[in-house]
Amino acid sequence: MAGLVPAPSPGVVAKKPARRCAEVCLELLCVESVRIFHEKQSGPAAAAALEAVGFRVGQQLAERYTRDKPRLGDTLEIIKFVCKDFWQALFKKQVDNLKTNHRGVYVLQDNGFRWLQRLSPPSAPASATAAAGAPASSAGSLPPGAGAVDPAREEAVRQLALSHLHLPCGIVRGALCHLGVSCSVEADPKQLPSCTFTVRIMA
């Protein structure tokens, strides 16, 4: 994990002596999985592979988290389940805003997406060591001295964030498809760490 300086994050405090895992393990796993997939395959193939992994995980999580819940009726109830219980279990918070156009497109907005929290764009005085917190992955290493060109740097940061969003998109898509809602999920990192997920129902 070259160049990664993880921000000090408290591990989950174990309330009982049994079986807890520090959250930093999950964060490091996600970051490293993005790096490895992008190393082994180029751009779109790596994205598709990560999304496929997320898809399967999403199916399994959907099984687990719907286990003791009452029957989920129509599509809207399923989306609300994903926004509330599923998001809570996976990302420790609920989705902040849900919008729909009532024609099969839902936009889920999370103002502090947990898996992007540790990604921060490099600060303006661009020296080689200024990448505090931003993993210098092969997908997006930023040239030093790029401080002057804001749009280019922003685009690079956006691409970096997108590469980390394939896995969560896959998880959401897997969960929805397994619950009977066939759809596609796209993520849009507007302003780190806030992010919107657009779910398009396939008729």
Partner: protein, 152 residues
Amino acid sequence: MGIACVAFIGPQNNPLYLRSMDPASDEQYLKLHYVVHCALDAVEEKVLLKRGPGDAQDAYLGLLYPTEDFKVYGYLTNTHLKILLLLDDEGPAKDEVVMRVFRRLHSLYVDTASNPFHVFGLPISSARFDVQLEQIVAVYPKPGASLGGFLT
């Protein structure tokens, strides 16, 4: 009340697992498949009926229909997995007891599905699943045994 057979059916009505608790011949399995297949229609009917106003939308569907040898009980999960239990026609079966069996079977399925090597849609082929299923089912007395002593 004894459990004669357990069946797991997937979302596309594809059989994932069918196990008879009595050692059965091939003919018997054919009959069980037939009964389970017919029961799927009853599952869908029951789900449609339950969509009436004010009905608790629950996973447990209750007694689906009685045949000459068995009583078929059904359970439908949120992920459209159906679990069917064929009970011997021996005396009344309490709903809570049957519900408990279904819940344990559901938990077993969730744990098995969480295996990274599990493929959704294919028949379940885990030895551990077989063993634990037997343990869940074995809690219920065989026909002719006394009524007391259900373990939770």
